[in-house]
Symmetry: C2
Subunit: 361 residues, 2 copies
C-alpha cells in the first residue's frame, strides 16, 4: 500500500537522521519566521500566525506577547508563502498603454487609491501600444497570480485570446477607456455628453450667458458628443444656441491662435468651455502673450485636468475629473468581481458618476 510504504521510509529517514542538507546554509540571509517566534515563546506557530493576523480566536495576553516578540525580532511576514497558501495575492494588475500620458496616470492614481483602501496592492505594466508586450504582461500577471486585471488594451490588439485565457485561469477583467466586448467583463468609458453638459452648466451657474465652445473635427464622436452636451445645457437654461460660438479646430494648435483672435473680436464673450485641450492651450498662450489677463474677462472651463493646462494657465479650471474617477470606479468594480459580490451593472449607479459609462457584455 502506497501510503504505508511511503511513511515507513519517511520514518526510517528521520530515525537515522536525514542525510539531506538544508537549502540555505548561509545564515546571513535568515529572516525571522513565525517558527522563530514560536520557538522562543514556546507557543505553537499556528497560534503565532493567528495572533499576527489578529484573529479573535487568540487571547489578548498571548497576542500581545507574540506581537511584542515579533516587533523585537524584526519579523516581517513572508507574503509569498502566505499568498501561496491562500492562493490569493491581494494584488491587482493594471495594464496601460503608457504611464506618461496624463490621462492614464490620473486613472492609475484613482485605481491606487481605491485599491489600497480595499487592501490591494497595485502593479502596473506599460504596453506602449504594442501587442506583444501586452501578451507578455498578461502572462506575467497570470503566473504571478494577480487577483484581477484592469486593462486599457493596446491599439494593436484585435485578438483577445490572451485575455480570455487570463479570464479562464486567472481572474476577472475590467476594461477601462478602451472598451472591449468580452463575456462578463465590464468596460468603463467616459460619458462625453454628460461631462460636457456638466462643464457648460457650471459656467452657466457662474452667470455666463455667452459661452464659446472649443471643439474639434465633428467626424470624431468624442467631439460630437461633447458638443451635444454643451447644447443640452444651454437648452436647459433657455440660452439661445449660436452656431458661431462653436469653434471647430482641425489643426488644434494653429487653430487655437485663430480662436483667440476670434474671441478678442467678440466683445460680449463671458465664458469658454473647451473640449479640445491643445487648442485651448495655444489660444490662452496667445492671449497671455498679448497681455490679456483671462480671469478678469472670461471664465474658462476645460475638459480634462491636464497639468499642461495648469502650467500654462491656472485660471483654466476643470470641474470634473472623469479620468481619476474612472480609476476608482474601475477598481472598485474589479474588487467586487474578485470578492464575488457579484454586483449587477444595473446596480452600479450608486457608485457611478454620470460622467462615466459602464457596459457589461
Amino acid at each position: 500500500m502506497y501510503f504505508i510504504k511511503k511513511q515507513f521510509i519517511y520514518l526510517r529517514k528521520n530515525l537515522f537522521g536525514s542525510t539531506f542538507t538544508p537549502l540555505n546554509l548561509d545564515m546571513k540571509n535568515t529572516k525571522p519566521t513565525i517558527h522563530d517566534i514560536s520557538k522562543v515563546l514556546n507557543i505553537d506557530s499556528s497560534t503565532v500566525s493567528r495572533a499576527l493576523n489578529n484573529s479573535p480566536r487568540v487571547s489578548k495576553k498571548t497576542k500581545d506577547l507574540i506581537l511584542k516578540k515579533a516587533e523585537e525580532l524584526g519579523y516581517q511576514k513572508n507574503t509569498l508563502a502566505s499568498n501561496l497558501r491562500t492562493s490569493k495575492t491581494n494584488t491587482i494588475g493594471v495594464i496601460v498603454p503608457r504611464i506618461s500620458r496624463n490621462f492614464f496616470s490620473s486613472v492609475i492614481s484613482g485605481i491606487e487609491e481605491t485599491g489600497y483602501k480595499g487592501g490591494y496592492n497595485v502593479v502596473i505594466g506599460q504596453t506602449f501600444d504594442n501587442l506583444e508586450r501586452e501578451q507578455k504582461l498578461v502572462s506575467t500577471f497570470l503566473s504571478n497570480r494577480v487577483d484581477g486585471l484592469l486593462i486599457s488594451i493596446s491599439m494593436e490588439t484585435t485578438d483577445y485570446e490572451h485575455l480570455e485565457n487570463y479570464k479562464k485561469n486567472g481572474g476577472p477583467i475590467v476594461f477601462y477607456d478602451r472598451p472591449v466586448s468580452l463575456k462578463d467583463c465590464p468596460s468603463i468609458t467616459i460619458n462625453d455628453f454628460e461631462a460636457s453638459y456638466k462643464a457648460t452648466k457650471h459656467l452657466i451657474l457662474k452667470g455666463c450667458k455667452n459661452i464659446v465652445h472649443f471643439s474639434g473635427v465633428q467626424k470624431i464622436n468624442l467631439y460630437k458628443n461633447r458638443k451635444e452636451g454643451y447644447f443640452s445645457a444651454l437648452k436647459e437654461y433657455n440660452i439661445p444656441i449660436r452656431e458661431e460660438y462653436v469653434f471647430e479646430a482641425k489643426l488644434s494648435e494653429e487653430d487655437g491662435i485663430e480662436f483667440a483672435k476670434r474671441i478678442l473680436k467678440m466683445k460680449h464673450i463671458d465664458g469658454i468651455y473647451s473640449a479640445n485641450d491643445t487648442a485651448a492651450i495655444s489660444a490662452i498662450q496667445y492671449l497671455k502673450s498679448n497681455g490679456i489677463k483671462i480671469p478678469k474677462d472670461i471664465s474658462v472651463v476645460g475638459f480634462n485636468n491636464d497639468p499642461i493646462s495648469a502650467v500654462i494657465e491656472p485660471s483654466l479650471t476643470t470641474i470634473n475629473q472623469p479620468d481619476f474617477e474612472m480609476g476608482t470606479i474601475a477598481c472598485s468594480l474589479l474588487i467586487n468581481l474578485i470578492e464575488n459580490k457579484n454586483i449587477q451593472v444595473q446596480n452600479l449607479s450608486k457608485i457611478l458618476t454620470s460622467e462615466l459609462i459602464v457596459r457589461n457584455s
Copy 2:
C-alpha cells in the same frame, strides 16, 4: 521520541483515512500543476520541473514529451511557489515621487527596458512625495520580497530607517535623481555640467557663434552647474563669453516672455541653449504668437526631452536623454548588486554616459 511519535500519528492518520478536507474544494479554480503533468505521463514531478526549466539533466525525448503535454494542458508556472522555494522573485521595486512627471516616466521606461532584458519584472509605487506612503511601499516591497530597490526619495524623507531596514533584510538599494548617503548604496544623478557642455557644443558644431543661454536663479546649483557647462564649451571653441547672453529667470514663465523680447532686439543671435524649460516654453510661445518662425533664424536646444516642449515647438530639440539613461544605468547597477557581481563604482565608466554621475557611499 518526538519524531517517532509524530510519524506514527501521521501514519495512522493516513491509514485510517484523513479527516482533513482540502483547502480548495471547488474544482473550477484548478490550474494544472507539475503534478498533473507528472501523473498523466507517469514521470516524476521533479523531472517535469527540470524539463520545464530546461535543465540539461533530462533527455531530449522526455523533455519534448513534457513540454508538449504542458502546452496541451495549458500549464502556467506558479511563480509564487517557485519564488517561495528559491527565495528569489526576479522582481525589482521602483519607488518614484509621481509617475506623471515626465522626467520620472522616462526614468521608469529606462528601468523597465534594462530590467526586462535582465529577466526581471518591474513594479512601481508612487509616494506623491509623502513619507508615510514611502514607508508603506518599502514595507510592502520587503514583505513581497522584491530582489532590490530603486528609489527617488520623497521630499519629506529625512530619516532612513525604513531603507536601512530594507537594506538589511531585503536587498540592495540604488538611489536615483535624489541622492542619499547610505552605506553601500550608490546614488545616480544627472551631471548638469557635462550635459550642458554637450548641448552647447552641439550648437557650436552646427555653426552657431552667438548663443544665448536660458538659465535660472544662480543660487540653485543645478542652474549654476549648467551655466558653467555652457561656458566650458564656449571656451573650448574660443568663443568669447558674454555675460549679457546669460538670461537668468526668476519667475520662469513671465521672464520667458521677457527673454523673447530681448532676443528680438539682439539681431545677431543664432542659437539658444535652454536649461530652463518653463522659460523656454513661454519664450517660444511668445515668438510664435507674433509670427516669428524660430527654426529659420535660431537653433534651439533644450535640456530635457520634455514632451511639453515637443508639443509647443518641434524645433526645440534635445540632444541628450539623461533621464531615460538614468533608468537603464540605475537598473543595471542594481541588477549587478542583486547578482553579487560586485561592480566597483570606478569600473562603471563603461556603461556610463558622461551626463550622469554615480556615487557610492
